[in-house]
């Protein structure tokens, strides 16, 4: 691991200013992904700003009837909160389908959104990777790409966003609250937080320099049947090949976001209008622009089947 200096942030504004001013500075919260990458020297921050202790570990009801989740709420605390389990069950289910008990106890809400891809070529520092080392090329496209993306990908990068939580948040139309070094706050829909790779796969979010996530806001509950269905290589503690976060209403309408297939949680509102016609019509619309590799072409039919399974699950009494 490369050397770094360390400080504990005293306020969100101070942390944001410090992060912008200090060369090579990064925020650290749970650290479960950042430290993993620092040990491999994929991440080499020169300065760490520990934002634990800023008090962003609470839930608040919003005036609109939604719920504001502090950025530092752990994945376990979020999954276990009774309001989430009752009114936003798809989010609780998604969180519980991810990682291990130990990791969920440490990983935070904002950290989960900002985690990096698990593309094996991003992790292997002997391989070219445009995300890790811009301009070096992509070893994944012609390589072992079974886990990688089929939508939103580019000739420079086919990495996927690995989060389960973010897929459910996308289905729920969650928004991220941030503060920047000027002390200005703003709300960013989760849909707009992650960038597509294009020619610059190393730029992953729309956050500005020093901008710090302080909370995630959920709109008022929308009812319906909540299902999170995850297909993976083993029954527990593995990343998704395909996952489906669905909130389905009795009239056949609903919202469906897909994980494991793109650089961000993938949701196409236009495809959702096809839901009453069934999973085949929905998947055909959703996957119209899919660009699979030979190794991950199986994900295209797998999305349709997983959506079909999720719809069936929602219909169970």
């Amino acid at each position: 691991m490369k050397e770094f200096t360390y400080e504990r942030a005293t306020s969100a504004e101070q942390a944001a200013v410090k992060a912008r001013q200090t060369p090579g500075a990064k925020f650290i919260a749970g650290g479960t992904n950042l430290l993993d990458l620092m040990k491999l020297e994929i991440e080499t921050p020169q300065h760490l700003i520990d934002v634990n202790g800023l008090g962003f570990d609470k839930f608040e009801s919003t005036p609109e009837g939604g719920l504001r989740i502090g950025a530092l709420v752990t994945n376990t605390a979020l999954a276990a909160d009774m309001r989430i389990r009752r009114d936003y069950a798809v989010l609780s289910r998604a969180l519980l389908a991810g990682a291990s008990g130990q990791l969920r106890n440490k990983a935070t809400t904002a950290g989960n959104l900002l985690q990096r891809t698990r593309c094996p070529y991003f992790y292997d520092t002997n391989q070219p990777c445009n995300k890790r080392s811009p301009g070096s090329g992509c070893a994944a496209i012609a390589g072992f790409s079974r886990q990688l993306g089929v939508l939103g990908v580019s000739d420079a990068c086919i990495a996927t966003h690995p989060s389960d939580m973010a897929v459910a948040m996308r289905a729920l139309d969650a928004e991220v609250e941030t503060i920047d070094p000027e002390g200005k706050t703003r709300r960013i829909p989760v849909a707009d937080l992650h960038r597509l790779p294009g020619d610059t796969p190393h730029l992953e979010t729309t956050l500005g320099p020093g901008e710090l996530i302080t909370a995630v806001t959920l709109p008022p509950p929308i009812g319906g049947q909540h299902v999170y269905r995850k297909v993976r290589d083993r029954a527990s503690y593995a990343f998704a090949l395909v996952s489906v976060a669905a909130v389905l209403q009795r009239d056949g309408s609903g919202r469906v976001a897909i994980g494991g297939i793109a650089p961000k949680p993938w949701r196409v509102e236009a495809a959702e209008t096809e839901l009453p016609r069934g999973p085949k019509a929905f998947a055909a619309r959703l996957l119209a622009d899919a660009k699979p590799t030979a190794s991950n072409a199986f994900k295209v039919p797998l999305v349709e089947r997983t959506v079909a399974a999720a719809i069936n699950e929602a219909r169970q009494p």
Partner: protein, 252 residues
């Protein structure tokens, strides 16, 4: 000739440094400790043998790159020392204060600085669970957290759960049910298992909980799902599950 003497002096100095690094004290301290233990003078030959072993150990450590202190010592004088920071926390009920390289994980602080080697380093990347400890009542991977981030925390390791003369019920159950083979993952399994039962008691649901809003029950499938972050390469899972079931008072 003068050059040779200088090189011998340098080699001796290196040997003393290596001794201190691997044996946690000076040669004189080691000799004194041996004499105190055995009540007799440490024969010179034993010290020589130890030195040879030490050299072999040092070579092996250098080959696998496991001697960060040695690297720090060989740093040129004009380079700044790596950033240090002090931290105080409580380990197994005892307060301790450490001055650490900021890079030190909680796992390395426990094993290398506090000599609590019960907690094991497996993958060092949060994938195997061998390093599981309980911090403020919650299980975490000690390899994926910096020691300096634990100011004021209460840390419980396998040594704090129980000792051979007074085992924690979970330790006793692992022995009774043969919940291990090589034993390397066992401290992590036991710390995790103790915390899993607390998590179920606290009503935290899991991926396999059928009713998300109900209180979870302690069943075999619940325990297996919740223990999935602890890998056992010997495959003692069924016995581990039986040990946990016994402590939970459940047979299902």
């Amino acid at each position: 000739m003068k050059n040779i003497h200088r090189r011998i002096r340098a080699a001796r100095k290196n040997l003393r440094a290596a001794w201190e690094l691997f044996c946690g004290g000076t040669v004189a301290q080691s000799r004194a400790a041996h004499e105190e233990r055995s009540g007799e003078d440490m024969p010179k030959s034993e010290l020589e043998v130890s030195r040879r072993r030490l050299l072999a150990a040092g070579t092996a450590a250098a080959m696998i790159g496991a001697a960060p202190h040695a690297q720090a010592q060989s740093r040129p004088a004009n380079q700044k020392a790596s950033p240090q920071r002090s931290v105080s926390f409580e380990v197994n009920g005892k307060p301790c204060s450490l001055q650490l390289d900021t890079r030190t994980t909680l796992l390395d602080a426990l094993r290398e600085h506090l000599r609590l080697t019960g907690t094991k380093k497996g993958c060092d990347h949060g994938q195997c669970g061998a390093c599981t400890v309980i911090v403020n009542g919650v299980r975490i991977n000690s390899c994926l957290t910096l020691a300096v981030m634990h100011e004021g925390d209460r840390i419980t390791t396998i040594e704090g759960l129980g000792q051979p003369e007074h085992l924690h019920p979970m330790q006793a159950a692992f022995v009774k049910h043969d919940g291990y083979q090589c034993g390397y993952c066992t401290p992590g399994q036991i710390c995790s298992a103790v915390a899993v039962l607390d998590e179920i008691k606290a009503g935290i649901p899991s991926h396999v909980s059928v009713d998300l809003t109900a209180s979870p029950e302690i069943t075999n499938i619940e325990v297996r799902e919740r223990m999935s972050g602890n890998i056992c390469r010997c495959g003692a899972y069924s016995n581990i599950a039986e040990a946990i079931a016994e402590v939970a008072g459940s047979k299902s």
